[in-house]
């Protein structure tokens, strides 16, 4: 296989990126110096930066080279201790292009290369800053094992419209809660400022706070609108222009307004697909799709394939990724009625106990609130039971669970690394068991909670007939 060599350095502007990294790393000591010694250290400081940091950054840039040739990627780096990292191209699992804000100003991208390094460990290489074009070329080169000419841009499997993203942000707990977290953080920071700014500000606000019903309504509505706008804005910021493409044997997701991200995963690493929805999204018939993938850095091996999708579009999208994917709306094997009792036992006693306590103490308001909570939890328990289900259609295993956040999962049983059956004393009494399937390489595990005895046995026997044939006992 004759391949053109690809060789180079980082972009010259990478010096700036590197200098900035030095600067932010030394920010705290520098500030400490300034505070303790006053501004008279400013001039020596600037001089030392110019004399030490910039030449160091330039040297570092000059000594950092990469080379793609002979079926492998070599990265040489280091000023005094030279490091050479070599990754065979067929070990490259993914190439992520990220453009943080600073990079985008300079039209640069950061390239992260994930590689499987024998066994379970992952090797990782990172090129701090290359030009956008070079980054794309590198990605193509690293991921293409036998390159053939292909259309410039394959058609998108999924594309998020701004409207969909805004609605999705509004209806997602993550983005709704983020503004509150930011406000809390700002308060914490402001408290450390001298002069009691927070106290004075709060007092001024309270003095001016509207007291009339109309005033309060306006304030509350304004606050709600503000929170909603921030939530929608957050979602738009992170997932702007989210596009999922299929490029031969890999999927590529691009997204982001300020920080641009491109994530590629091998199709072969996808163990299954998750479809989730939440109580806020359900009435609007929206869901999110993630891939369960092995050898990916992200938590639990989940990679977002579509942040917000209309439920009518879910099945076509699933099938475009996994042609054998079952329909999420199809009926599943329901778990036995005894599982419902167990869901109640989990959900109801705590609020019920709190209610009883409140009644005993004569706290009527708390008792009413407790009663409402108990009723809600009972509903959740019923719903959690209704959601439980599994099905194996001979090619794909489907599992469903959860109530507030519902998760529907489809898996290829060939990807299961090991099987586990769990039984607590309560489950034994109820004739139930939990079937757990472990997926390899950080992809986590999935379970069928509280399946019946007579369901767990055939399920295991069908998932891996030859493995379980000697183990399943015939029912008496």
């Amino acid at each position: 296989m004759s391949e053109a060599e690809l060789e180079g350095r980082l972009h010259p502007l990478a010096v700036l990126v590197f200098a900035r990294r030095y600067a932010s790393a030394s920010l705290i000591p520098v500030v400490a110096l300034l505070i303790s010694l006053g501004t008279r250290v400013l001039v020596p400081l600037i001089v030392s930066v110019l004399v030490i940091v910039v030449p160091l950054a330039v040297l570092w840039w000059w000594r950092f080279t990469y080379r793609v040739a002979g079926g492998r990627l070599e990265v040489r780096s280091g000023l005094v201790n030279r490091t050479i990292k070599v990754v065979p191209l067929d070990r490259v699992r993914g190439v992520d292009l990220t453009a943080p804000f600073f990079h985008r100003l300079l039209d640069l991208v950061k390239v992260d290369i994930e590689a499987a390094a024998g066994g379970r460990d992952k090797a990782e290489l990172s090129l701090a800053a290359v030009s956008h074009r070079e980054g794309e070329a590198l990605r193509e080169r690293l991921l293409a094992r036998a390159r053939v000419e292909e259309p410039a841009e394959p058609p998108a499997l999924y594309r998020a419209t701004p409207g969909l993203l805004a609605v999705g942000g509004l209806l997602s707990g993550r983005y709704l809660l983020a503004p509150a977290a930011i406000v809390g953080l700002l308060f914490r920071l402001a408290e450390d400022l001298p002069g009691g700014i927070v106290e004075r500000g709060t007092e001024a606000l309270i003095d001016r706070a509207p007291t009339g019903a109309a005033g309060i309504t306006i304030t509350v509505v304004t606050a709600l609108v503000l929170v909603g706008a921030l939530a929608a804005g957050g979602s738009l910021l992170v997932d702007w222009g989210f596009t999922l493409r299929s490029e031969r044997d890999r999927l590529t997701a691009q997204r982001g307004l300020l920080t641009h991200r491109t994530v590629s995963i091998d199709r072969g690493r996808i163990r299954g697909l998750d479809v989730r929805d939440t109580p806020l999204r359900r009435p609007f018939r929206l869901a999110g799709i993630t891939a369960i993938a092995g050898g990916v850095r992200r938590a639990g091996g989940r990679t977002t394939l579509a942040p917000v999708v209309r439920s009518d579009d879910v099945l076509p999208l699933l099938r475009s990724i996994d042609p054998l994917a079952p329909d999420p709306r199809a009926a599943l094997v329901a778990h036995p009625r005894t599982a419902r009792g167990r869901r109640f036992v989990r959900a109801v006693p705590l609020p019920a106990l709190a209610t009883a306590g409140a009644i005993a103490l004569g706290w009527w308001w708390a008792a009413v609130a407790g009663l409402v909570l108990t009723a809600v939890m009972a509903q959740v328990a019923i719903d959690r039971y209704r959601q439980l289900g599994h099905r194996f259609d001979g090619r794909r295993l489907t599992l469903r669970g959860g109530s507030l956040t519902r998760r529907w999962t489809e898996l290829d049983p060939a990807e299961i690394v090991s099987f586990e059956l769990r039984r607590s004393p309560g489950q034994r009494r109820a004739g139930l068991a939990t079937v757990v399937v472990h997926l390899g390489e950080g992809a986590g595990s999935r379970r069928a909670l509280d399946a019946g005895e007579e369901q767990a046995r055939p399920l295991l026997a069908e998932l891996h007939p030859r493995l379980f044939a000697p183990l399943v006992r015939q029912s008496p």
Binding site: V417, S418, L421, H438, S445, E453, L467, P470, L471, V472
Partner: protein, 164 residues
Amino acid sequence: MILREPAEALDVRMRTVWALEGAIVAALVAFAVAVTVVVLVVQDASTAAWIVGVAGAAAVLVSALVLVWLRPSHDHRYFRYEVTELGLYVARGWLWRRWQVVPHARIETVDIKSGPILRAFGLVAVQVATAAAGGGTEIPGLELPAADALVEDLAHRAGIEEPQ
């Protein structure tokens, strides 16, 4: 019953090993209680010393009962394993029972390990790792020849080659 129980049991000495480990923990608890009581007596807080002494003695007694007698015997009785044609089958736990089935083809490494207590009893533990973090398993107490045979058998079936 959903799956039949695996055929093999652990070495009986494993019961003693676990009991010894439990005894060490119980002794540490007893030591902590004794130190606290002495400190309280020196401080002239005799009521507190009595309370700590009685409660501590009860705690030591209960933990000794559970850790030295109940758990080792039950852990031993309810731990079973078997190498089947296509997989390693391990069942453990008395109240919370777990049955693990790891296909040979999915086994990545098989290790033999032994701590000082295990070694004193001439036992070793066999650890089986897969690509999935939660997918591996362990057989805690086997005689060395039995463990060697097991490791060889598993490695052979898993297609893991001996390092040169």
